[in-house]
């Protein structure tokens, strides 16, 4: 688990937290977690990424990890004027470079990403199942669900090469006032969430637990993901949040 605290364009401190646990199925099989998440702060801004290696692909674990690294490298080099399409294409190209000389389709992974530049531009989206939600603070909590795919019946769009542009969804937000909170989750979490309660969940994670230190947050969140309350869930589970902690706030 990683986390990041960075000054964020003068409106506060940007924080990113996340946790992942292997699902019961992989634990039973003695197989590793195929999910991966990363939160990276750098000169231009921050990027939060959550990936779920496609279970039927033999090297999907490698693919999900490569996608996290690819998002970090794309963010490192991308100005806040980059178009969403260019950001997407650079991520795909960088991911392809990382998984080769392997066969990209063997490394297929979902990829949900939230990039926030210091100017306040927030770009959220991705490819594949899972959930990318943006909650805007203030009196009217608003959720934008940027669902990157058509994941149903165990099938999903995935990052596996060029020519998949139609399965990507990317959406821009103006977060210059630092009021947006982003939640990214793989399908092992997203499938069981009550969507109507997403704003409450995000606010609870931020306000109740956001002030926790990194280790405490990791411990709490892994415990919650490991003791998942919905029966029958067997997938790996990953959840990550990004928010701006304003001056004087505790979460």
């Amino acid at each position: 688990m990683r986390s990041s605290r960075r000054r964020c364009g003068g409106v506060g401190t940007l924080r990113m937290m996340g946790a992942t646990v292997p699902g019961p199925h992989h634990l039973q099989q003695g197989q590793p977690n195929q999910d991966c998440w990363g939160g990276y702060g750098m000169r231009r801004g921050h990027v939060l990424v959550v990936c779920d290696g496609v279970g039927s692909c033999p090297r999907s674990r490698q693919g999900s990890r490569a996608a996290c690294r690819a998002a970090r490298e794309v963010m490192r080099d991308a100005s806040d004027e980059v178009t969403a399409a260019s950001f997407r294409d650079r991520l795909v190209e960088r991911w392809l470079e990382m998984v080769r000389p392997g066969i990209p389709s063997a490394c297929a992974t979902t990829c949900l990403v939230a990039a926030r530049w210091r100017s306040g531009r927030l770009l959220v989206g991705g490819i594949g199942d899972g959930l990318a939600a943006v909650v805007r603070g203030g009196l009217e909590a608003r959720v934008e669900i940027v669902d990157g795919g058509r994941g149903e019946f165990g099938e999903t769009a995935a990052l596996c090469g060029r020519g998949e542009e139609q399965w990507w969804t990317m959406r821009d937000f103006d977060d210059s006032r630092g009021q947006h909170r982003v939640l990214l989750a793989t399908d092992g979490v997203a499938n069981d969430l009550v969507l109507e309660r997403l704003p409450s969940l995000v606010n609870w994670l931020v306000e109740r637990h956001g002030a926790d230190g990194r280790r405490r947050w990791r411990s709490r969140m892994r415990g919650m993901l490991g003791r998942w309350p919905t029966p029958g869930s067997s997938d790996d589970r990953t959840l990550a949040v990004m928010w701006t902690m304003t001056e004087g706030a505790h979460g």
């Binding site: 279970g55 149903e152 919905t230």
Partner: protein, 227 residues
């Protein structure tokens, strides 16, 4: 104190089983409708007794006969299903039933995105007709629409031909899977054997770590199961 369970669903992901049951007049002969009622009751009872935590098996029954096609049993958890026996009368408006099934499968309110791949079970003893009982191929377009729909084409499909008059070509078109074949029940008692096979397939999926994967046990030898 707030906890994660305040934000999550309390039930396992649904695994819908949708039966399209022919209740045309010919089904009242030779005890076929009685056998079908017993078979579906037994299937629902088995699902309700299933303790698999992985999935919540849900059942809906669409009938086609007198009065057209209609939802006889709403999609409900098997444990909560209240079964009312079907009665046989009227023509065989199969096309209408397939349209009802397609609407149900594609309804994101009733079958949410988190659901596992549904099972569609078609049982018929005759040739499709229009609403007035005239032989018709008006089932072809609805079946094509089902197979081309986003979810219907990916559903796990089963088909049973009851008796020698059943339209096997139509049932094969519904299956649209060279790896599967239409089973034929020449006696009413074999209907239950067919539904036990469907039950076995669905419960195997519900116990599996990957319930979306299709697990098809060997088909039953219906002749051996006859009584």
């Amino acid at each position: 104190m707030t906890q994660m369970s305040d934000f999550t669903l309390a039930t396992a992901r649904p695994l819908p089983v949708i039966v399209l049951a022919d209740v045309s007049g010919s089904m009242s002969e030779h005890g076929k409708i009685d056998s079908l009622n017993r078979a579906i009751t037994e299937m629902i009872t088995s699902f309700a007794a299933e303790r698999a935590e992985r999935a919540e098996i849900q059942v809906a029954v669409i009938t086609f006969g007198a009065g057209g096609a209609r939802i006889h049993t709403e999609l409900t958890s098997a444990g909560k299903t209240v079964w009312n026996p079907m009665r046989a009368d009227g023509p065989t408006p199969l096309g209408d039933a397939v349209e009802v099934a397609t609407r149900l499968v594609e309804d994101r309110q009733r079958i949410p995105g988190r659901a596992y791949r549904p099972a569609l079970v078609l049982v018929s003893d005759g040739h499709p007709t229009d609403a007035n009982g005239r032989a018709s191929d008006n089932w072809k377009l609805p079946v094509q629409r089902l197979l081309e729909s986003e979810r219907g084409g990916r559903a796990d499909r089963f088909a049973l031909a009851i008796g020698d008059d059943a339209d096997e070509a139509m049932l094969s078109a519904f299956l649209a899977d060279p790896a599967k074949s239409v089973l034929r029940a020449s006696e009413a008692g074999q209907i239950q054997a067919f539904f036990r096979w469907v039950t076995m397939s669905v419960t195997a999926r519900s116990r599996s770590a990957t319930p979306n994967a299709l697990l098809l046990p060997p088909p039953p030898d219906l002749e051996a199961d006859a009584f």
